[in-house]
């Protein structure tokens, strides 16, 4: 078949379509969003009837995928790394239930925090759950690993974690496809108690999971994603995990590394190969685009063996993503540097778009709060987080999705009244509703702004689960109707909006204010599409 140019994310998606998935479940999050978007746009996926609409959050996505696996079909669930924190309960326990139909969990990590609040390494989660992990180094491997991962999942009855990092997720290269597989038929687990994790059953299942570890390791040794390349210069042996292998090879233009190399793409580690490398080389260098997990485990806490170099001994930086230069320096190469960046080149941070509704909402909030001391606005994650920066400087926290309402509760209960929460519409349905219920049950004096731009803005304008439901949800949870106010965040309505917010700040209970105006990006996109449709009709 002909090569297709695909992003790492798209290669995973095409791999899943061709591996016969019946559904993909996800909540958007950089750098994972494009996987699900690819399936949503794929004609083939539509013809095959693959379900692909967005879930409310990563936990609902994870559990829905597990349900599809229970029913015997192949399912993939995708999220950014921090999404796995949200899905962790279902994720860890899915290792105990095991899978029926193939189940792959894709976690897209973001070393260097290009678009994230941390750079946690999802391989820890895979190890924690005691399941196999796949880590591609190329787009082709990403494609191939999905096929293999589903086969492995069904063969050994286990969910499989596939970890990708930003650089591969968002890099394009040629991919050759394989023949497409049929979807599985509906087929329930032969033991209908397999998924009932009562302690008496869970203990048995857990023992089974533990006993599968040897098979997992055998798979790592033989599946072909871990490769041992021997070479003469044994002063150094190199372990290169995932994409770091590319950076290693870049440093050898003839693609011949003089040292033995263990290329790692599957975990648990293939112990024989690691042992061979350790025994035959004087010292080891461990390359990982993430936390020093392998480095730490080979080193051991006492570090009494051979010299192990990597992120922990300073051979590589402790944080941030790797690149060819960083890897080159750890091998002792000097690089020719280009010219320096002139000192007048100014940083150009991202900012709210011109005409963004959040801007007008925060202008009004800032003025409404001008009579109070500073530091009262607990916010959340989304485009509106950019209002922390100049010129608005309107918010004081951003921790994790949903933490605005709940942190405002704690602060108000500590005596900071009024406390304000500012949360986006999608973040509200992702993780805000339960916090709102806490506030209502305690009648906590907080004012909540649900910034409704009617889309998931930050990740590129996906459909928001909150669309058309916010007031109903708030009332259903128990917010008093007279303390739910909808505003139009426009400059010409500024004074009116300030007054409305001020009134609610004084209320000794839960108020919800909904500044509602469509995201300027999705609005423009809709207008362009409309215009295009019109001109197409004419010609």
């Amino acid at each position: 078949m002909q090569k297709q140019l695909l992003l790492g994310d798209e290669a995973l998606a095409q791999g899943a379509i061709d591996a016969g998935i019946s559904g993909i479940y996800a909540y958007p999050g950089t750098p994972s969003t494009e996987i699900t978007e690819y399936v949503q746009k794929s004609k083939e996926a539509a013809e095959k009837g693959i379900r692909s609409s967005w879930s409310a959050n990563e936990k609902t996505a994870m559990e829905s995928a597990l349900g599809m696996s229970y029913a015997g079909k192949r399912a993939m669930v995708c999220m950014k790394h921090v999404g796995l924190n949200v899905a962790a309960d279902g994720f860890i326990n899915s290792a105990i239930t095991g899978a029926n139909g193939g189940l792959i969990i894709v976690a897209a990590d973001d070393p260097s925090m290009h678009s994230s609040q941390n750079e946690q390494d999802s391989r820890f989660y895979g190890k924690f759950a005691l399941i196999p992990i796949l880590e591609p180094s190329t787009q082709q491997e990403a494609y191939d690993m999905v096929r293999y991962g589903f086969d492995l999942s069904e063969k050994l009855g286990t969910p499989v974690l596939l970890r990708i990092t930003t650089r591969l997720a968002h890099s394009r290269s040629g991919v050759v496809r394989k023949e497409s597989k049929e979807q599985n038929k509906l087929k329930l687990p032969s033991n209908l108690r397999q998924f009932v994790l009562l302690p008496v059953i869970a203990r048995k299942q857990y023992k089974e999971l533990l006993s599968k570890q040897t098979e997992f390791e055998q798979e790592s040794a033989h599946a072909g994603f871990n490769q041992y390349f021997d070479a003469d210069d044994k002063k150094l042996g190199i372990v290169a995990c995932g994409i770091s292998h590319n950076y290693l090879m870049e440093n050898y233009p003839d693609r011949k590394v003089p040292h033995p190399v263990l290329k790692v793409g599957q975990y648990p580690l293939p112990l024989k190969m690691v042992d061979q490398l350790y025994e035959s080389c004087d010292e080891l260098l461990i390359l990982e685009d993430g936390y020093p997990i392998i480095e730490e485990s080979i080193k051991g806490v006492l570090n009494k063996g051979k010299k192990i170099r990597g992120r922990l001994d300073g051979s590589l930086p402790r944080d941030g993503e790797l690149n060819p230069n960083i890897v080159g320096r750890s091998l002792g190469f000097q690089h020719e540097e280009g010219l320096e960046i002139p000192d007048f080149v100014a940083p150009r941070p991202p900012k709210l778009c011109k005409g963004c509704s959040h801007h007008d909402a925060f202008m009004a909030l800032n003025e409404a709060l001008s009579g109070y001391s500073k530091g009262r606005v607990f916010s959340d994650i989304g485009c509106y987080t950019l209002s922390a920066l100049e010129p608005l400087e309107a918010i004081n926290t951003c921790v994790d999705m949903g933490a605005s309402i709940t942190m405002a509760i704690g602060a108000a209960e500590a005596g900071l009244v009024p406390s304000v929460a500012a949360i986006g519409d999608s973040t509200f349905t992702h993780s805000g509703i339960t916090g709102l219920l806490d506030a209502v049950n305690n009648k906590t004096p907080i004012t909540i702004l649900i910034l409704d731009n009617s889309t998931v803005g930050m990740t590129g304008g996906q459909k928001s689960s909150a669309l058309g439901r916010i007031e109903q949800i708030c009332m259903g949870v128990g917010v008093e109707e007279e303390h739910i106010k909808v505003l139009k965040p426009l400059r010409k309505q500024h004074d009116e909006n300030v007054k409305a917010i001020q009134e609610e700040l004084k209320y000794n209970g839960v108020s919800v204010i909904i500044p509602r105006r469509e995201c300027i990006q999705t609005l423009n996109r809709r207008m362009r599409a409309k215009h295009k449709a019109k001109t197409a009709n004419i010609s």
């Binding site: 650089r167 968002h170 890099s171 394009r172 590319n246 080149v345 150009r348």
Partner: protein, 193 residues
């Protein structure tokens, strides 16, 4: 043949269309390609860059090593300078001269242009104005691509075909506009190089 290219600009300026055009032409030539893009947060009016690597042989890294880029192609003058550490000694810098000012501390544009002109190998052109004169500023990126074309070692005809295929869904007018933009940029570069 091997070319390592840094594409630079501000979110929304269309550097990915430049990448897609060069990529399509390279693939039509049977070459290998790797292209690292920036998605997500920075696309909100921040600085964006893409590493585009094309080669007759297999490519290892998705990222270009520092000091190894053959070309910087930038749709914005200050942004072109942000990636100077990536450029080879004998590399070329091709840039638009019209600034995109969306920050309060944008430097004196004269200083920016002076620095660009001090580089021994550069092509600088007011692509905004050229695109506007041709009908739409939306073709600015392709004017810049045209100015970079002589340095790509890809047949001009292949690049024009790539433009036709990239803008196919946007209609005949857009194809014409972008072909004209490409040719206008190319004419400037041919005089300069």
């Amino acid at each position: 043949m091997k070319k390592d290219i840094i594409l630079a600009g501000v979110g929304g300026q269309g550097i990915l269309s430049i990448a897609a055009t060069i990529g399509t032409a390279a693939i039509a030539n049977g070459m290998h390609l790797k292209q690292a893009e920036v998605h997500g947060m920075s696309q909100r009016g921040g600085d964006v860059q893409s590493h585009l690597r094309i080669s007759d042989e297999k490519i290892a890294s998705d990222l270009i090593p520092q000091g190894q880029a053959d070309l910087i192609i930038s749709v914005e003058p200050m942004e072109s300078l942000r990636y100077l550490p990536m450029l080879k000694r004998e590399g070329w810098l091709i840039t638009n001269t019209a600034p995109h000012v969306n920050i309060p501390n944008y430097p004196d544009i004269e200083k920016v242009l002076e620095k660009i002109k001090s580089l021994p190998r550069h092509v600088a052109l007011d692509a905004d104005k050229m695109a506007k004169d041709l009908g739409s500023v939306r073709a600015t990126n392709i004017v810049v691509l045209g100015a970079a074309a002589p340095f790509l070692e890809l047949a001009i005809e292949k690049l024009e075909n790539a433009i036709r295929s990239i803008f196919k869904t946007k209609g005949k007018e857009m194809i014409e506009l972008n072909l004209n933009a490409f040719r206008a940029g190319l004419a400037v570069a041919e005089k300069a190089s």
